[in-house]
Symmetry: C2
């Protein structure tokens, strides 16, 4: 089945399913159902069955899903059955929190390169993998030399677009942007924005 | 016009428009167009005009939008023409980065209460407003006493659901959850999840 036939909104739910399956595994569970997954996630069981049906037949009516099998399948579909090197730009408070975050490991990602412009940070280890912070001037060469495909931007807003351009030109294909500004990327480069205020403002409307 | 007639996906784009308008104001601009906004945001101008038309007539064909006026209108619609107190639970690396984040101020939010269970953190000031960290046992009473309506969860995953329950019972109406787990909230309480790995996995599918 051609990938372009699957709506992006379906792809966006797969990581949520994968996360829930990993929690079930941690709880020692072996079999689940679309009903149970749906109850945990606030998504209808019909939606879950429909989403998964895009990729094949993962469960049988009445017997449910084998959790480990479904987890492995989703990891393959999302291409996180491997570990992706990630380049992080910005080693301030936010960058430090990202580098210290233990949740990447085991979910397909490892921050293996960190960049900043602050002489006080460059040359020092940062994060749970003790990555030595490099000057941002070395960003493009490092991405190219190591074939890094994924970048995280945690710079002030005014530097984010420039960093994204450098990343894309050096071969980065997917960018997670924490800077509070919308960034343009060339065709073939994917970007996701994380801005807590956007999340909050989306809710205050309803209060 | 009744609020329930406006799709949530439209509401979700309004904070993006608001953010772009604030950047235009910072650049000294006075008038913009749906075309310019769309080019900046990677959204079609027709979509922007349609989204805004839900709320009234903000611009005239050929003359564009008065940026300050549209900004003020969007702030009113999103109810961020005021400052909301926010209670943050979790004062680890992530919580510290959130408390230090300068991007809340001026966009409708101020973290005015911070909670943790670590005796080394309780009683000490944290973040750009030097909020004294309290024990999480004081969470419910503080929310009630101050009428706080918005909470941010930055705890380990295993504590997030319990914190959300306490928040909701004490009167919190909107929760921004950074813990990497899907949390259930009662009807009438809104929740948005921020999980960087979900954002990354959504992109690796396409690589």
């Amino acid at each position: 089945m051609a990938k372009q036939q699957i709506p992006d909104i379906v792809i966006g739910r797969l990581p949520i399913y994968l996360r829930a399956l990993n929690y079930l595994i941690a709880e020692g569970r072996r079999i689940t159902s679309s009903q149970e997954l749906g109850d945990r996630l606030g998504i209808s069981s019909a939606q879950i069955r429909k989403d998964l049906s895009h990729f094949g037949e993962f469960g049988k009516q009445g017997t449910g899903y084998d959790i480990v099998f479904l987890r492995d399948q989703l990891q393959q579909i999302l291409k996180v059955d491997r570990v992706w090197d990630v380049a992080l730009v910005g080693a301030g408070n936010l960058g430090k929190a990202i580098a210290d975050y233990p949740g990447f490991v085991g979910r397909g990602f490892m921050i293996t390169a960190i960049f900043d412009v602050d002489p006080a940070k460059i040359g020092r280890p940062m994060g749970i993998h003790n990555v030595i912070v490099q000057h941002v001037d070395e960003l493009a060469a490092t991405i190219q030399a190591r074939g890094i495909k994924i970048g995280i931007i945690a710079t002030p807003a005014e530097h984010a677009q420039g960093v994204a351009r450098t990343m894309a030109e050096a071969g980065i294909r997917a960018i997670l942007n924490y800077a509070p500004i919308t960034i343009a990327v060339p065709a073939g480069v994917y970007i996701q924005h994380i801005d807590p205020v956007v999340g909050l403002q989306r809710m205050t409307y309803y209060l």
